[in-house]
């Protein structure tokens, strides 16, 4: 079950990279970046998961050595990572808009004034 998560997360990472490398449309490049982010997020949340564990919310004295709960740290990390992913998408889409305005195209093969 959890193995499937790992496989899918690395598959998503590879898919995102494939998308960035092979697609010539800027919007698709941005989608590729998002897919990579989702892959990493899935990886993080899978690492913290314990089958059968409860939510990691305890008040004073409730926590005993026999408590069995999912690891809370990766959940916090995932939230941070999701926020950062949203920032990447927002910022790159803003740049894509400006690029469309000034170059009149979204094809990466034509947006290459800087080279050599």
């Amino acid at each position: 079950m959890i193995l499937m998560n790992y496989i899918v997360s690395f598959f998503l990472l590879a898919l995102g990279m494939y998308c960035i490398v092979t697609k010539y449309n800027l919007v698709k490049t941005v989608i590729g970046l998002s897919i990579m982010d989702y892959g990493v997020n899935l990886l993080i949340i899978s690492i913290g998961f314990n089958p059968g564990g409860t939510a990691p919310i305890f008040t004073w004295g409730e926590l005993t050595p026999s408590s069995f709960f999912v690891d809370p740290i990766p959940q916090a990390l995932t939230l941070t990572s999701i926020v950062i992913g949203a920032c990447v998408t927002a910022m790159s889409l803003a740049l894509v808009m400006k690029l469309q305005e000034s170059y009149g195209t979204l094809d990466t093969r034509e947006i290459r004034r800087l080279r050599g």
């Binding site: 970046l33 690492i47 790159s92 740049l95 800087l114 050599g116």
Partner: protein, 644 residues
């Protein structure tokens, strides 16, 4: 708990980071007023620098490692549960570099940016970038490092596109964002793979647990983190992004991208190989670092030779110098580390100076195209002198600072070759020497085509830049001279403590996690503290080397004057025979103006296939650059699986 505790120097690292972010926040609120934002920005960067300078005494000279646990959550039961800042001599060394560069760039921006729109946003992003980099080098937590990497990447991308009407600014920003995000995702994936193995994010605890428990997952994590930090340092194959970003960004931001962002990547690599995995004893890992460094060194200097744009040329040189630093740091000897860090410091100083002079030229003439500029020394004498100091420093001419550190790097690579009996390191010495010569060559070209030669009619009314900008450049120039004249003081006070910190992992772990932790967890693996001692050869007296240089220059001049008979007279319209032969200088021409690409036509003609190949390779298509990143990542994964 005494309230005076908050003035203890142990709190200074967090203050140094917070004042920058606080300044960014306050400028959003009050930045509409010109004086308010200037005062706020100045106070932020100046107090950040002051806090770090106050740490020199305990950390650099006293050898203390400051472990600062946020909210006082110290490790419990052998587990680091809090978020930590840690400042050892290595962190502080990079921190000081960053704070100095940020301070000078901020002074420069006051006059440089005054004609732009949205200036409050500029300062906000500027301080965010500075805070992100400083947070990265002072952080003791791997995930915190990732957050800081993201903050600085965003700020840098936004600032690259800041003058979005400039040629290629948007394009450069987008390319940087795409490849930079791949790098950031690599760092995050590497971090989380390490967390899955040892369930901690604290640097000291990771350093204690990982070297003994290497498995396939940690090896992949090593590759991911290494490639991620290489992206941040713009090493080959990520160098085209640096060139694009530098060319498009305002000059004060180019200083930060080249002097500060690349250092954060280098810092990450040094922490990764010397602390987290402690794998520098392996010849193969040394090979990996030295190889990447040497390739960056050589490829980027040849790319720089072919450039026609002032700032793009400087950008390629910047990565070439980073190659020096990585090669020296990859030697895993005390002299190598010390030389590499010395060169990293010098790189920040002279490259900052050069970018600021390029900015001054852009400010007054509106272009950085080498073919259009010329003869500016008559109009901007101070800028010219400052540029010459920077050019002499980067080319390694005594008595400026580039000479001292490059000399140490030659010595370090040569000594390594002698000690290990490996002829490959000798090759690195040779590549470093050739690169230095090519660097000098391309700066001769820049000097000739920007500051000397004929003044184009369009720039008759150009004047010297305002005092505020010259003052900022003067600080860098003065530091270049001082660090070049007194190499023994620099090594004793700055680079040797940092090099010692690199070799005392055990102490680093114990100071963070409590005494005895390293020995109990790592057992026999705990590395003994290596003594850092080495002898400089010849570097002691840069002045005598200057004398030697002057005598040689005199001899060459004499030979050139006496050897008039082989000069070729070039008349307008008449084709000169032998234009494409190798030449040694001395042609008389009717135009003293030499175009940006023309000074080394013989050399470039003979190497035309190579230059053509490189030009085609750097196609400017973002897919290609992303492909290089993916290929580099796969190579790193495979290589590390095999050798570790």
């Amino acid at each position: 708990m005494n309230w005076l505790n908050i003035l203890s120097y142990r709190h200074f690292p967090i203050y140094a980071i917070m004042v920058l972010f606080l300044g960014a926040f306050l400028i959003v609120l009050f930045g509409r007023n010109r004086w308010a934002r200037h005062i706020l920005a100045f106070l932020s960067v100046a107090s950040s620098l002051a806090f770090l300078i106050a740490l020199v005494r305990p950390v650099m000279l006293g050898g203390e490692i400051i472990a600062y646990w946020m909210g006082g959550r110290v490790p419990a039961g052998g587990y680091a549960i809090g978020i930590a800042l840690e400042v050892d001599a290595l962190s502080l060394f990079f921190g000081l570099l960053i704070a100095t560069a940020v301070f000078v760039a901020c002074l420069y921006s006051f006059r440089y940016m005054e004609h732009d729109d949205n200036i409050p946003q500029y300062y906000t992003l500027f301080l965010m970038l500075a805070g992100g980099v400083l947070g990265l080098v002072l952080s003791g937590d791997l995930f915190n490092m990732f957050i800081m990497v993201e903050i600085l990447t965003f700020a840098a991308v936004a600032l690259t596109a800041f003058r979005n009407t400039a040629n290629g600014a948007l394009e450069a920003a987008f390319k940087y964002l795409v490849v930079g995000s791949i790098g950031s995702s690599c760092i995050l994936a590497g971090t989380i793979l390490l967390y899955a193995q040892v369930h901690t994010l604290n640097f000291a605890q990771l350093s204690a647990l990982i070297p003994g428990g290497l498995n396939n997952a940690t090896k992949v994590a090593f590759a991911l983190l290494f490639v991620g930090f290489c992206t941040k340092a713009f090493l080959v194959p990520f160098h085209p992004l640096a060139a694009d970003a530098h060319g498009a960004a305002p000059a004060s931001i180019s200083v930060l991208i080249s002097g500060v962002l690349t250092k954060s990547g280098l810092y990450g690599i040094i922490r990764l190989v010397y602390f987290l995995f402690q794998s520098m004893g392996l010849g193969t890992i040394q090979f990996m670092l030295v190889f990447v460094g040497s390739v960056s060194m050589f490829v980027c200097v040849t790319m720089a030779l072919a450039q026609h744009d002032f700032k793009r040329l400087l950008a390629f040189h910047s990565i070439s110098q980073i190659g020096y630093v990585l090669s020296a740091a990859g030697l895993a000897t005390a002299l190598g580390i010390s030389a590499g860090l010395y060169h990293a410091m010098n790189h920040t100083l002279f490259k900052g100076l050069l970018f600021l002079t390029a900015g001054a030229v852009l400010h007054k003439t509106g272009t950085t195209d080498l073919g259009k500029l010329g003869g500016l020394s008559k109009k901007m004498p101070h800028t010219t002198v400052l540029f010459l100091i920077g050019a002499a420093s980067i080319s390694g001419i005594p008595p400026f600072n580039g000479f001292a550190s490059k000399w140490m790097i030659y010595q370090a690579t040569y000594q390594k070759a002698v000690e290990s009996g490996n002829i490959g390191f000798l090759l690195v010495t040779i590549i470093a020497l050739i690169t230095s010569v090519l660097t000098l060559a391309s700066f001769v070209k820049v000097t000739q085509s920007v500051f000397f030669g004929r003044l184009p009619a369009a720039y008759e009314n150009v004047t010297e830049v305002p005092f505020g900008m010259r003052f900022a450049m003067g600080i860098f120039a003065a530091l270049c001279v001082v660090t070049g004249l007194f190499p023994d003081y620099v090594t004793r006070w700055l680079t040797e403590p940092a090099a010692r910190a690199v070799f005392s992992v055990g102490q680093y772990i114990n100071d963070m996690m409590g005494a005895g932790y390293a020995e109990s967890v790592m057992g026999g693996l705990a590395p003994a503290q290596q003594t850092v001692s080495f002898v400089h050869v010849g570097v002691w007296s840069p002045v005598s080397w200057l004398l030697v240089l002057c005598i040689m220059l005199l001899a060459v001049t004499l030979a050139a004057v006496l050897g008039k008979y082989d000069r070729v007279s070039e008349n307008a319209g008449e084709k000169v025979p032998g234009k494409y032969d190798l030449f040694f200088g001395g042609e008389e021409s009717v135009y003293s103006q030499v175009g940006g690409g023309d000074l080394f036509w013989g050399f470039k003609h003979n190497w035309r296939h190579y230059f053509r190949f490189m030009y085609d390779l750097h196609s400017g298509v973002v897919n290609d650059y992303a492909l290089w990143a993916v290929v580099a990542l796969s190579l790193a994964v495979v290589f590390l699986q095999i050798v570790l």
